[in-house]
């Protein structure tokens, strides 16, 4: 299995949509074959269309707010000692997370295809919130599927979705989290694909959704590359990019522009959700060697039992609480381009405490996982190593959890 240079990773899949011959694909009911093919044709055409790209860039710049900041975490660097710790503050983006890029592109595509309704899934509520914002902006009706457990633990985002006029549909099946929300959203699309567009909230799902999402979030690394050159004159000789990985949309977008660099120069570190220390459950299929299986239309490493039933996950962060992982990350793992590890709930909370103690930055629980590993490893690196953590979400949505776990003063 080999990563090719000079070709975007999203376009390295084969004719049937498999990366490395085995990750991804289109394991979908017959009914969805046509709408998926239509979306593929549209996306393949538009991603080469200068006007469409200009339109995307216009909205990214004026509406999403690009570029998001790239800042040095001076106090944290001093405290940790070792590498310079920087952060790409993607939570600056309109709505407070990277999910806005994918949502915007999906709404632009829906408009082009003449659809008037868009449906989407959400875990932490960001994908749903952003889709509801974009749908409102572009005059589309919006339906969001969200696990009942997630609705309870991510209330601020639920309120935001409703305020934007979206219908939030609680999902009571299975574990009542993201995995069930994605299933229910796909079911809704199966029944309504003639009139409704679907947005999958991460780099997961049938191949075209993986590609659209990766294409959209790559805005993050395009900005970062320019910012690195502005700051250091060129891409640093020792660059390490840390990102949390749930479905994998923010990490893929954070790395994409640096894909062709040697990994000795630009190393990618993906941090999965290890779950509570005392629990056997986790949401880290790459770290803990889960077997390849099919989930939501794509072959990927996924937590499952020997029969092939998808296993329940557990994580403090709703956004990472997913049993599978993007086929793109499976591909990056097996080609050894990226390295994956996990942080536990407790480690993420400790990192959150440290970051907020030293810096004016409140990463949500998802990027707190990435901070945890970055802080632990930065100690060992030389001063000329540039560690960058993607702070891809804001902790506002996690207030209730943080207050309960760490006390009021950390909110």
């Amino acid at each position: 299995m080999k990563l090719k240079k000079g070709i975007p990773v999203i376009d390295q899949g084969d004719k049937l949509g498999f990366w490395g011959g085995k990750f991804g694909g289109n394991f979908v009911p017959e009914t969805l074959k046509k709408p998926i093919e239509d979306l593929e044709t549209l996306f393949n055409k538009l991603k080469k269309d200068r006007n469409f790209i200009n339109e995307r860039d216009k909205y990214f710049k004026n509406w999403v707010g690009s570029p998001t900041r790239f800042i040095k975490l001076k106090n944290l660097t001093e405290y940790v000692g070792g590498a310079q710790i920087w952060s790409k503050v993607v939570s600056d983006a309109n709505g407070g997370a990277h999910k806005i890029y994918n949502a915007t592109v999906h709404c632009l595509l829906a408009k082009r295809s003449g659809k008037k309704v868009i449906c989407g899934d959400t875990g932490a509520g960001y994908a749903g919130k952003m889709l509801s914002m974009a749908a409102k902006k572009f005059g589309l009706k919006c339906k969001i599927f969200m696990g009942a457990k997630d609705i309870q633990r991510q209330q601020p985002n639920v309120r935001a979705m409703k305020k934007n006029g979206a219908e939030v549909i609680p999902v009571y099946s299975g574990s009542q989290t993201l995995v069930d929300a994605v299933s229910e959203c796909m079911r809704y699309w199966v029944a309504n694909c003639d009139k409704v567009a679907m947005c999958v909230g991460s780099t997961v799902g049938p191949a075209v959704f993986v590609r659209i999402c990766g294409w959209s979030t790559s805005q993050i690394s395009r900005e970062l590359k320019t910012q690195l050159v502005d700051e250091f004159g060129s891409v640093p000789k020792k660059l390490k990019l840390y990102n949390c990985v749930g479905g994998g949309s923010s990490s893929f977008g954070f790395w994409n522009e640096f894909m062709d660099y040697d990994k000795k120069q630009c190393e990618f570190i993906g941090v999965e959700a290890g779950g509570p220390v005392k629990s056997k459950k986790h949401a880290a299929p790459l770290t803990y060697g889960s077997k390849i299986g099919i989930l939501h239309g794509a072959a990927q490493y996924v937590n499952q039992n020997t029969d092939g039933q998808i296993e329940e996950t557990e994580s403090i962060s709703a956004g990472l609480d997913y049993p599978g992982i993007s086929p793109l990350h499976c591909f990056l793992k097996d080609t050894k381009r990226a390295r994956y590890t996990a942080a536990s709930d407790e480690e993420a909370l400790r990192a959150y405490k440290l970051v907020t103690k030293f810096e004016k930055l409140k990463p949500s629980l998802e990027p707190s996982h990435a901070f945890s590993v970055a802080i632990a490893e930065a100690k060992r690196f030389s001063e000329d190593t540039i560690v960058v953590v993607n702070s891809c979400g804001d902790a506002y949505k996690d207030r209730a959890i943080i207050e309960r776990r760490l006390g009021k003063k950390y909110v």
Partner: protein
């Protein structure tokens, strides 16, 4: 290639009626009871579809989901399903059985091993909901080698060009999904429209046995009588759920539903 499924269609045709196919989930509500249900409805049904329950089913509505979760909760494993088929075949050797499920279950078992077990236990056909054409080409030919029908699915969204290619690659039985819906949805298109789509398929190759499924209940079954076969699934799963709620015997109640269905298409 012919197998028991072909004979079942021939028999129904000779009686000038569509074949009746039922779908029940293996292990719903228990291993023992699901076998009892199969035995009790066997006389009335031409082909038995047995669902392999999966916990992330992307094409099933709430009734089949409920049945699947119930079966999984009660501990059903793939090996138990083969055992159920085997035990059923001891009871009624000539009744064709089709397993219907999602590809991950087969993938984890290993395609070859899964098919070997199918053969041993007496499975005559397979429907894999999320393994569409052309992705299913390789697996379908493996099935063919073992004289197991791989049943292709067609939907109202399938383009004409695609219809032709799939039908060309299909075995003797084809499953036509009546409308855009998950299983158990209310029939939202007219039977006239469904049958006009059905005719398009038959026109391409009249020799294939085409069954219609999704949205078929006691109310709607009669209007689709002209099809080669009709599948009822969610209505039966719902009956099991309701029987359990009312503390009644699901075996008797399901038999009564199937009996009424059969009478409507006689």
């Amino acid at each position: 290639m012919s197998n028991l499924i072909s004979y079942a269609f021939k028999k129904a045709k000779s009686e000038k009626r569509p074949a009746l196919l039922t779908y029940t989930v293996a292990g719903d509500s228990s291993k023992k009871q699901s076998l009892e249900i199969l035995k009790s409805i066997s006389k009335k049904v031409d082909i038995l579809e047995i669902g392999v329950p999966h916990n992330t089913p992307v094409a099933d509505g709430s009734q089949i989901q409920t049945s699947s979760y119930r079966a999984i909760k009660n501990g059903i494993k793939v090996n138990d399903i083969f055992k159920i088929v085997k035990d059923f075949k001891k009871f009624d050797k000539y009744k064709p059985v089709i397993l219907m499920g999602y590809y991950n279950m087969i993938f984890q078992y290993g395609e070859n091993e899964f098919l070997r077990k199918c053969k041993i236990s007496g499975v005559n056909g397979l429907i894999v909901v999320d393994l569409p054409w052309p992705e299913n080409k390789k697996f379908a030919s493996k099935c063919k080698k073992r004289s197991i029908f791989f049943i292709q699915l067609l939907s109202p969204t399938t383009t004409k060009n695609r219809l032709k290619k799939i039908i060309k690659d299909s075995h003797e039985m084809i499953y036509f999904i009546s409308m855009l819906s998950t299983t158990g949805g209310k029939l939202k298109v007219s039977s006239k429209e469904i049958l006009s789509n059905y005719d398009k398929i038959k026109k391409i190759n009249s020799k294939k046995n085409v069954v219609i499924g999704f949205g078929i209940t006691e109310k709607t079954i009669k209007s689709l009588k002209k099809a080669d076969g009709l599948v009822v699934g969610s209505a039966i799963c719902r009956e099991i759920t309701n029987s359990l709620k009312k503390r009644q015997n699901p075996v008797t109640n399901v038999y009564n539903v199937v009996n009424r269905l059969k009478n409507k298409i006689k």
